[in-house]
C-alpha cells in the first residue's frame, strides 16, 4: 500500500468544536483525536457538556462551530458535516455504533431480540433469513444472552440484558467506532462489573475504537486508554487514563478524583 499506514492516522479528528443553545454554551472549543482501536473516555459532572459533545461528534446534533473529520474504510478523510445525509446515515448504521444510556432508546422494544440484532444486517441488504438468524444467535451468545431468548422481546429482558442486547445490535455489522453514552448508568453494581468486563473484552477482540461518555471514573479507569475531563463545556484536562487519574493536574480533576469513595 502506498502512503502512511492507516494506524498512523487518527480515525476521528475533532477541531474547535462548539455548540451553543442560544446564549447558553453546550460545549466550546473542543479538540481531540481518536486513533483506531483506542478507547477514549469523556468524563465530567452533570451539565459539563459531555453528552452535547458526544451528540455533536456522532452527527446527532449539528455543532455551531468547528469540524469533525472521519477516516472512511477506503482511507479517505471526510468532514462529517459536509457529507450528504444519506452518507451519514449509512455510516451510522454500518461503520458506527451508538449505545444509549437507556436501552429503550436504542432498541426496538416491540420486535424480538433476533430481529433487533438482525436489523442492521437487513439494512445493508442481507436477505437470507437463515444466515441473519445464525449471525444474531452468534452475537447473542457473545454478549451472554441464552440462545433460547432469541425470539423474546426486549420488554421481557432485565436492564442488564437489554444493555447487552443493545451492544450486540450495534456490533453486528463490525463497526470501527462505537459511541457510548453512560453505558452502565442505571445498572446495579454487579451487573455493571460484568457489562464492563464484556465491553472491555469485545473492544479488545474486535479492535474497536470507542468514545465513552461517563460520570463514573471507575468506568473510565477500566475501559479507556485515554480520557478527557470536561467542566462548563470546556476540556480542562486530557491525557492517558492512568496519568490523569493517578496524577491529576487541574484543580477540578483533583476534586473529582478525591471525591471517589474508597471502600
Amino acid at each position: 500500500m502506498s502512503g502512511p499506514r492507516e494506524d498512523d492516522q487518527p480515525l476521528l479528528s475533532v477541531r474547535g468544536l462548539g455548540k451553543r443553545y442560544g446564549d447558553r454554551i453546550g460545549c466550546r472549543d473542543v479538540s481531540f483525536d481518536v486513533w483506531p482501536g483506542e478507547v477514549l473516555a469523556i468524563v465530567g459532572e452533570s451539565g459539563s457538556g459531555k453528552t452535547t459533545l458526544l451528540n455533536c461528534i456522532s452527527t446527532r446534533l449539528e455543532p455551531t462551530t468547528g469540524a469533525v473529520r472521519y477516516r472512511l474504510r477506503d482511507g479517505q478523510e471526510r468532514d462529517l458535516y459536509e457529507m450528504s445525509e444519506a452518507e451519514r446515515r449509512l455510516l451510522m448504521r454500518t461503520d458506527w455504533g451508538f449505545v444509549h444510556q437507556n436501552p429503550a432508546d436504542g432498541l426496538r422494544m416491540s420486535v424480538s431480540a433476533g430481529a433487533n440484532v438482525g436489523e442492521r444486517l437487513m439494512a445493508v441488504g442481507q436477505r437470507h433469513y437463515g444466515n441473519i438468524r445464525g449471525t444474531a444467535a452468534n452475537w447473542l451468545e457473545r454478549v451472554e444472552i441464552a440462545e433460547d431468548r432469541i425470539d423474546d422481546r426486549p420488554r421481557d429482558f432485565s436492564g442488564g440484558m437489554r444493555q447487552r442486547l443493545q451492544i450486540a445490535r450495534n456490533l453486528v455489522t463490525g463497526p470501527r467506532l462505537v459511541f457510548m453514552d453512560e453505558p452502565t448508568g442505571g445498572l446495579d453494581v454487579s451487573v455493571q462489573a460484568r457489562l464492563l468486563d464484556l465491553v472491555r473484552g469485545l473492544v479488545a477482540d474486535l479492535g474497536l475504537a470507542a468514545i465513552v461518555v461517563t460520570h463514573d471514573l471507575a468506568v473510565a479507569r477500566l475501559l479507556s486508554h485515554r480520557m478527557i475531563v470536561m467542566k462548563d463545556g470546556a476540556v480542562i484536562e486530557a491525557g492517558l487514563t492512568d496519568r490523569v487519574l493517578d496524577d491529576p493536574q487541574a484543580p477540578y480533576t483533583q476534586l473529582l478524583v478525591s471525591s471517589i469513595l474508597q471502600v
Partner: protein, 305 residues
C-alpha cells in the same frame, strides 16, 4: 371529462358533476399525475370531507370523482363483492351525483373502485382500478414518526420492512402476513398495497390497467402506472407465496381464485366460495357447477325442459 354545475333540482342548490367542485378535482388530478410520474410515491393532497365516514372509502371516492367522466362505466367492489353495503352505497352515490352507467361486470367497467380485491378477470389498458386505502404508509407500525418514514423512503432505507417479515418467520415459521403485504414498485419505492390479500399481489405486477390509491383520512394519493414492475418482498430462503385453497369454489368449481369461507350453521358446516362475485356468476352462467350449486343447477335444467 368535466362538467359545469349541473342543475339537478330545477333552480335549487345543486351538486357539481361527480360531487366535488372543479378546483378540487384539478388539485386531486395534479396529485394523481405526480403519483403516476413517481410510481408508489405517496403524494400528499388536500383531502376533502365527503358525505361518508373515514374508513368507508373517502380516499377512493375522491379519486374516482376526479377521474370519472360522463361516458364512463363504474363498478364498485367491497371484499370482491358487488352487493355488499359499502359497494352498493358508493355505486348509488355516483349514480346520483354523476349519473354514470354502472355495472357489476368487470369486463364492461372502465373505472373500478375497490376495497380489498383485484378482480379475477384480467384487467385491460382501458381500465382504471381505484383502491380505497386506510393506511398508506408500509413502515407505520415499525416507525411511528412520519418525518422519519419520509426520510427512509427518500433514502431508500427499507431494512425495517424486512424486520417485520423476519418477525413473522421467527414467530410463525413462515411469512404470516396475508394482507397489506409490502411490495417494491419499479425498483424504488416500497408500497403498502392497502388491505388486499397477498393473493392479489402478483396481479399488480405488469398490470395493463392504471392503478390509483387514495387514502382520505391520511391525505395521500399514490399510483402504479400500467406495465410497472411490482415485486413482493421476501427472503431468499423464504420466498413469497400466495395462499392456496384445498377445495374449489362451492358454487362455480373455480380453482386458482381467492375464496371466502362462509359459515353455514353452528355445527361446523362451512363452504368456500369465490370472493369475486362477478367472476363466480359468469362461470356459473357458462355452466360450471360446484358441489353446493348442484340443486340449483338441476332446477334450471328441469325448468328448461
Amino acid at each position: 371529462m368535466t362538467g359545469q354545475a349541473q342543475d339537478i333540482a330545477g333552480g335549487m342548490a345543486a351538486y357539481n358533476f361527480a360531487y366535488l367542485d372543479e378546483q378540487t378535482k384539478r388539485m386531486i388530478r395534479r396529485a394523481i399525475l405526480k403519483g403516476i410520474a413517481i410510481p408508489a410515491y405517496q403524494v400528499p393532497f388536500a383531502s376533502r370531507e365527503m358525505p361518508m365516514p373515514y374508513g368507508w372509502g373517502t380516499g377512493g371516492v375522491q379519486v374516482t370523482a376526479s377521474i370519472i367522466g360522463r361516458d364512463d362505466t363504474l363498478k364498485v367492489i367491497d371484499q370482491g363483492a358487488d352487493d355488499t353495503t359499502n359497494a352498493v352505497s358508493i355505486r348509488a352515490f355516483f349514480q346520483k351525483v354523476a349519473d354514470v352507467a354502472v355495472t357489476t361486470r368487470t369486463r364492461e367497467a372502465s373505472v373500478i373502485q375497490t376495497r380489498h380485491r383485484i378482480p379475477e378477470e384480467p384487467l385491460t389498458v382501458s381500465q382504471v382500478l381505484v383502491y380505497q386505502v386506510p393506511i398508506p404508509e408500509p413502515l407505520r407500525f415499525l416507525e411511528p414518526r412520519e418525518t422519519e418514514t419520509r426520510k427512509m423512503h427518500a433514502l431508500e432505507e427499507y431494512g425495517l420492512m424486512h424486520v417485520k417479515l423476519y418477525e413473522d418467520i421467527a414467530r410463525h415459521g413462515h411469512i404470516a402476513t396475508t394482507y397489506a403485504y409490502p411490495v417494491l414498485v419499479d425498483d424504488r419505492y416500497v408500497m403498502d398495497p392497502s388491505p388486499t390479500p397477498k393473493f392479489d399481489n402478483p396481479k399488480m405486477d405488469m398490470c395493463p390497467a392504471l392503478q390509483l390509491f387514495g387514502a382520505g383520512r391520511e391525505k395521500r394519493i399514490y399510483a402504479i402506472p400500467p406495465y410497472t414492475r411490482v415485486v413482493s418482498l421476501d427472503f431468499e430462503d423464504h420466498p413469497f407465496e400466495v395462499q392456496r385453497f384445498e377445495e374449489p369454489c362451492a358454487l362455480c368449481a373455480a380453482r386458482d381464485v381467492y375464496l371466502d369461507e362462509v359459515i353455514l350453521d353452528d355445527k361446523g358446516g362451512r363452504m368456500f366460495v369465490c370472493s369475486d362475485t362477478d367472476h363466480c356468476e359468469e362461470r356459473r352462467a357458462a355452466g360450471n357447477r360446484g358441489h353446493l350449486a348442484a340443486e340449483e343447477a338441476y332446477a334450471t335444467t328441469e325448468a328448461a325442459q
